[in-house]
């Protein structure tokens, strides 16, 4: 699984990545993480507000930080 965290490096982006990593760990899923800070790349995903989470090239979360529980459901 390839997970991209989109955001300009704000506190929320860091929390989103943290929660996503924890969700993967709890699910026992192996995932490769990547940070995307280039705004034009974010725009190409259609993302308009940060932070966002892209899982296998699909935007799953935009403009908010879901809980670990919610992320677990999204990542299953």
């Amino acid at each position: 699984m390839k997970i991209k965290v989109l955001g300009g490096g704000c506190a929320n982006c860091a929390r989103l990545e943290q929660n996503a990593r924890k969700a993967c760990e709890e699910l026992g899923v192996k995932a490769e993480f990547e940070k995307v800070t280039d705004y034009t790349k974010m725009a190409a995903y259609g993302v308009m507000s940060t932070p966002a989470l892209v899982v296998d090239e699909e935007v799953k979360v935009e403009g908010r930080v879901p809980s670990v529980e919610e992320l677990k459901k999204l990542l299953q």
Partner: protein, 318 residues
């Protein structure tokens, strides 16, 4: 608010045993009362707007604004800018998303102006500190500037002053997941946590400075240099507001105290608008998608309209 007033008085005159009527006693009383009132109001407002945000998402806004006509489109964009989150960090993807889905340039600018200027933090602070009349004036004139400036930019046909790559981006459609009620509330709570953490200290500091000004600066101190007959005060106030970017939380309490010492209403409004709407980081970030000429036009139009609104209020309201 009776309870909060009593608490402020209790802290100042009982707990700290200060003399009622003394400068220090009144300043402490004022500080405790105002900070509690403003922080409570701010948390409530951020929570409500946070809930609204789960319905008015940028993805939906761009669909509502796509292909709109001048006038109606600008008004709608300015109104939708109020509950939509705006931080300069997402200005670029937002701008690209709008342009790509066919939102006209002038309408995009109406949104980009109103979104940071008329925001929940500024509204809560104004409501809590200067009353609803001035809050309404601020909101209405902020929306009016966003509409008029957006129409002006739209009429200037500046589409070729947007960086070329913006028109080449073909983005994927984002399918938004329907949020449950519980997720909406969690989102709003998180907004309260994030925003309160970011602004509380500034609010307290600024109310502290305001309390000091209330207690120690003589009444009418600013009437001469920043009163309503001082023509130059408005543009100077707007210039001073630019480097204080987006820190409504840290400036409004001070402005409120300055108004009590004779700063004219129009000057104060223009100053607050400049703080929220005109900022260096935003200009630098917008430069990524706009050619320098359009950044200059955007800043110029905004500067002039804020100054005009300030002068207008100074001339009309005594």
């Amino acid at each position: 608010m009776g309870l909060l007033e009593d608490f402020g008085a209790w802290v100042a005159f009982q707990l700290l045993n200060l003399e009622p009527g003394s400068a220090l006693g009144e300043a402490v009383n004022f500080f405790v009362y105002d900070s509690l009132k403003v922080l409570l109001l701010l948390a409530a407002m951020v929570f409500l707007v946070g809930l609204m945000r789960t319905y008015v998402t940028p993805q939906r806004v761009k669909k509502w604004l796509g292909g709109r006509k001048e006038g109606v489109g600008n008004v709608l964009a300015a109104l939708l800018g109020v509950p939509t989150p705006f931080c300069s960090c997402s200005a670029v993807p937002l701008f690209i998303g709008f342009v790509e889905s066919g939102v006209p340039l002038g309408i995009t600018f109406s949104f980009l102006i109103s979104s940071p200027m008329v925001n929940e933090v500024a509204i809560a602070l104004l409501l809590g500190l200067v009353g609803w009349e001035i809050t309404v004036l601020y909101i209405v004139s902020g929306l009016a500037i966003a509409v008029v400036a957006g129409i002006a930019i739209g009429r200037m046909k500046l589409e070729n002053e947007v960086e070329d790559f913006v028109y080449e981006i073909r983005s994927k459609e984002v399918k938004e997941k329907q949020m449950t009620a519980r997720e909406r509330i969690a989102f709003a709570k998180n907004e309260v946590k994030t925003i309160m953490k970011k602004v509380s200290l500034y609010v307290l500091l600024a109310i502290g400075v305001g309390a000091f000004i209330h207690g120690y600066v003589p009444v009418g101190f600013l009437a001469e240099i920043a009163g309503k007959n001082s023509f130059l005060a408005v543009p100077v106030a707007v210039m001073i507001g630019i480097p204080l970017y987006s820190n409504a939380a840290g400036t409004i309490p001070v402005v409120q105290a300055l108004m009590a010492k004779g700063m004219a209403l129009g000057t104060a409004l223009a100053f607050m608008m400049s703080v929220t709407a005109l900022s260096f980081p935003e200009m630098i970030i917008l430069r990524k998608v706009l050619k320098p000429k359009l950044v200059a036009i955007f800043v110029g139009i905004l500067f002039v309209s804020i100054v005009l609104v300030g002068l207008l209020f100074n001339a009309v309201i005594g």
